[in-house]
Symmetry: C2
Subunit: 340 residues, 2 copies
Amino acid sequence: MSEKRPTIYDVARVAGVSRSLVSLVLRGSDKVSDASREAVETAIAELGYRPSRAASELASGRTETIAVLIDDYANTWFVDLLRGLEGELARDGYRVSVVDTAGATDTEALRRSVDALLSLRADAIVVARDLPPSLTGRTLTTAVAPPLVVAGTRLDMPEGVDGVANDDAAGARLVAEHLLALGHRRIGHLAVAGGAGAARRASFVAAVAAGGGEVIVVEHDGAATEAEGRAAALGLLRAHPELTAVFGANDLMAIGVLGAARELGIRVPEQLSVAGYDSTEIAASGVIDLTTVDDRSYDMGVEVGRMVRDLVGGRPAAGERRVLEPTLIPRGTTGPARRL
Amino acid sequence: MSEKRPTIYDVARVAGVSRSLVSLVLRGSDKVSDASREAVETAIAELGYRPSRAASELASGRTETIAVLIDDYANTWFVDLLRGLEGELARDGYRVSVVDTAGATDTEALRRSVDALLSLRADAIVVARDLPPSLTGRTLTTAVAPPLVVAGTRLDMPEGVDGVANDDAAGARLVAEHLLALGHRRIGHLAVAGGAGAARRASFVAAVAAGGGEVIVVEHDGAATEAEGRAAALGLLRAHPELTAVFGANDLMAIGVLGAARELGIRVPEQLSVAGYDSTEIAASGVIDLTTVDDRSYDMGVEVGRMVRDLVGGRPAAGERRVLEPTLIPRGTTGPARRL
């Protein structure tokens, strides 16, 4: 750290232009000739100059970073959330950084992940997973922590925290109605832990029952991965050959069901219909083509971004909860129930 | 920020224990009774106390965060890299945070992503994508930036920067030899931009030619996504019905080929063999079951972690390049070439 940090004056000198012209280039002005812009950019690269963001951060106490806590990088439902958040906040100059908790198997490990999140000194924190109340609670919302927005349906949300979620109960009901309309009455469900999982399960079971059907629920407390979905589905389909459809609590679990069906020689959708939740990119791939629920992750990200802007701007947290309506995306993995 | 930050003494007072007992709990000691631990944890939650990491960071100038720059959260090859990095550095107390560049379509946008990375004030930076020399170069390696390690085969790596990669040329050769041994001679390749993509393509084309075959290469400059792979494969398979195999430059592109084949009514592997690269979790799913190359991402993460430890510990950057041997993972998407 002993080398002198280059300044905007150094850049101007090396580029042979005025300091104000360097400033214009840094602000992305279109009033700069290509030649001057190039000279400035070359000088910036040569000097290793970094625009004064760091200095202004030190002065303002802002990092212009939004830190997002997610479950697991391998479960890509969060990607659209980030895209929406980035899209909404790009013009404010915010950048987004992510910390995951896939390796955190107990509260202490989760606390370390939350520490990692806080150590980023972000201007706001977005929590997109369930957390024990001791962590979502005062640890995050105390005066030493930045503003917090919760994304998704989460258990034990402390009062006063703002959040955006899709209506998981409504989404699961859409799946139930879709399967009932196709004639399915004996349906499996791979449930997952957490607020979204609980809402989906309760609503799905109730809606299928209201339509005269019955749901066999497999509880699952661990990570909601493809491998777990596959293992759970193998057990379920072997024990319940009467099932004509399975609803996985998220796309990864549902993709696991597709793998299990293939392993057991069960054709999808002729012999078994399969649906997921989240509308991930991989679910839309031609080879998977999974019926799923669009949980409006992108729009959720946009709404989270608006809340972040308000909170950073000084609006006190108000416990506002915005809810987005999900939609069903019927694809090739669901079809009419086979005759038993 | 006006509220007084709670201290370890406040925690001890509220929990009704000594300060040194709080300290033991914070260090995870097993010499503390469950009752005391619970009292301390309750007090920590109530007060919103955060262990003195932030304070010690301010004193030491360290954040104990490693910041990783990746291409795109949706391309999950990086997940194993992070797991290896986290595994290696967990005992040092480091945490990992990620910034992606999927939205960065020009150098200026990339520069903003690099700014985001630098603004995390991480103790070290890991770059796991290609960057223009002006960004990987002095912008990152100047004295104001933290130590840098490059992960993966990257173009234009500045001299003196340390890095770890798998041997992409060797990996592509393994795919070529596998397909040649299965009798394939007319093979398509969906290439991607960047250092790893270039190495894979050149080696694949040479190895197939050496075995008496021929490769039709489709160049692709954009994002290496499933959708792009599918679109490219649709064009390729329509224009070249004589192809009996396609090698996608990564798993996502290869999954796109599987989707294209399905759309065209081409059976895999009976009529078309498909291979990818990266050994992602989704490629291993039962429903995709993709032949791929294990690029040793987890081990790469471990090696990156070791380099990070050395560099943070004071070893000067030495331009060291460690190379890991990839292995082929044959699965259900490759089989004997059909007779034409």
